[in-house]
């Protein structure tokens, strides 16, 4: 009996060592040859680490096969300036002209962090609502903890298609994104449309190229970018989801997607899933072919000293410095809270009242 127990324990230990890579055997392996093995599934679809470039779905490549200086991709950068641009009116973009090819790029959020720290009034309002809810329900919360110093997400766009005149449509559904454009020589971009759900910006583009912006978080009548849920991988929510809840969720997503697809077709003349480039969370995307092994690759040009063109929305503050952003944010949050409470912040957590004796 004792032998059986020892044998069982031995089997168990062996299983755990292999299953959970206790001695780091998996870590000794080199990077897999297939980049898609590095993708993980998140709530909005596939997510890629910073070493992966997303192409037309579901293709992905290694950044080292596209950029000649991939080590620069994660370097800290300092921007020179910001330029604010107006948004389109009535959710309407300039349609593509004859001869233009649509480069349809969509992510849920940028996988990389830009050097842009920005707060819009909507971001601040959402943070303050969280703080008020916690405080009025007895949780002692420091308002400073709710001020999330979040850099705007960033996606590098490698443009390698030199066979057509491109109309870039850059879409992000979950948060604002800075799109950093890197062009191969001979490539031609005629026009850019940016559709975001938060602060959005473009950098690395010739100033003569027209760019139109839409931040759907500021335009309730406009539909937010979405992907066909049927084309997305199943996500493990980490909890029991009843059949009805699952049905309701997928039905809601279906409806949202159909609304977006209809709107996209009306603006750009093709359904929103046509040759769709990008995955849910990506740091880089590629528009065009991957350079041949012996062909020159793209040079990543850092953002240093460049001007970002960002949407003019309810942005309260934007800075390349996290320290300056924090200092400014504290006073900006306090002012907004005071204004929202009618000048009496203390009424948010009122003292008990007593009967007049």
């Amino acid at each position: 009996m004792q032998k059986l127990v020892f044998a069982f324990v031995g089997l168990l230990v062996g299983y755990l060592v292999l299953e959970y890579d206790v001695i780091g055997m998996a870590g000794s392996n080199a990077t897999p040859e297939d980049p898609s093995q590095l993708l993980v599934v998140g709530p909005d679809g596939h997510e890629a680490p910073g070493t992966i470039v997303a192409a037309d779905a579901p293709k992905v490549f290694f950044a080292k096969d596209i950029f000649d200086n991939p080590d620069q991709l994660t370097a800290v950068e300092t921007l020179a300036d910001f330029e604010f641009v107006e948004q389109v009116e009535g959710c309407r973009f300039t349609p593509p002209s004859v001869g233009m090819a649509l480069a349809n790029v969509q992510v849920a959020t940028g996988g990389g962090d830009s050097s842009v720290y920005a707060y819009s009034e909507t971001d601040m309002a959402n943070d303050l609502i969280d703080w008020i809810s916690a405080t009025t329900n007895g949780q002692e919360t420091d308002i400073g903890e709710k001020i999330a110093l979040r850099p705007v997400g960033k996606v590098n766009v490698a443009v390698t298609d030199s066979t057509q005149i491109l109309y870039l449509v850059l879409q992000s559904s979950q948060s604002g994104v800075i799109w950093h454009i890197h062009k191969m020589p001979e490539t031609r971009i005629a026009r850019v449309a940016v559709i975001a759900n938060g602060t959005a910006g473009v950098i690395g583009l010739d100033p003569a190229i027209p760019v139109e912006y839409l931040d759907v978080s500021q335009n309730e009548q406009c539909v937010q970018p979405d992907r066909n849920p049927r084309a997305l991988p199943d996500y493990d929510y980490g909890r029991e989801v009843s059949r009805k809840e699952s049905y309701d969720l997928s039905r809601q997503r279906d409806m949202r997607f159909r609304q977006y697809s209809t709107w996209f077709l009306s603006q750009f003349g093709v359904p929103s899933e046509t040759t769709l480039i990008g995955i849910a969370k990506a740091s880089h995307v590629i528009v065009g072919p991957v350079p041949e092994a012996d062909a020159p690759r793209l040079s990543y040009v850092p953002m240093d000293g460049q001007t970002v063109r960002v949407t003019k929305n309810d942005l309260v503050y934007i800075s390349p410095s996290p320290e300056a952003a924090t200092t400014h944010a504290l006073s900006a949050y306090s002012n907004l809270l005071e204004q929202a409470s009618g000048g009496r912040v203390e009424t948010i957590t009122p003292a008990p009242i007593a009967r007049d004796q």
């Binding site: 809810s133 907004l336 409470s341 009967r355």
Partner: protein, 265 residues
Amino acid sequence: MLDCGQWFHKKLNLILFAVCLHAMPLVGHASGITSNDIFSEDHATLSGREYVLTKKAQHMAALFDGTAPNGIRVIEFRQTVRIRDVMLKDEPLPPRHLRPLYIHARASKIAMSECELIVQQLANHCALYQIDVQKRSEGKYLLIAQLAFNTLGHRIDTSHPDNSSYMDAMVDLSLNNEGIEVHSDHLHTARADYYGRAKMVCDAVRKSFGSCVVETIYFETRPTVGNDPRRVYLTARAQLGALVDQTVTLEQLRRVAASGFLTTP
């Protein structure tokens, strides 16, 4: 955290499933009891029966404690609000994207105006206990506030519960069970009326049995049969608690409470 069933389903490993089932009680997962429950000071020093009695005595003491509001006596207050309802006179409406924040930031103030009604009619003190704001359609928000209060009346000694027993009763404050017909914009006047009625019935119980607290009041609205959809019936029920002689029956308590309606305020 996965339970054994989920884990088994994922791993399809019968042997480990068996091990998992045996291991779970050791980490306090399968039993649903946390280490706090097991090792709390009360539990460590008291027998099960003593623990329950102590908890019960603490609850009684808090329930009949007239000195301060606490989370034992709570009135849930619900109100639909629009942005205009929370704005000051002549204050311009905020931009659309800031309206949810304005509603959240000013919800406590609306809840505290209900507290003023409660202290006028029923309580010595009233405080905001919990508040929730839920977005509804067409610019409406549902405010759900729980207001803690302490009933008017003397503090009752609950240190000798063996001499009397605790009894609670649900009393319909609507009399004819139809409720008060009121315009939905003026529900507060009807609620004030019900707070007054709750005090009257509790006073009657206190007069007869020596103790009474209003533990909570539940409100319900339903549409009237008329053409105006904004007119509703508001009904209310109060839960009363009292320490009474062990010979007193629930029926007696209810009868005495109902007699409170006959009392002139």
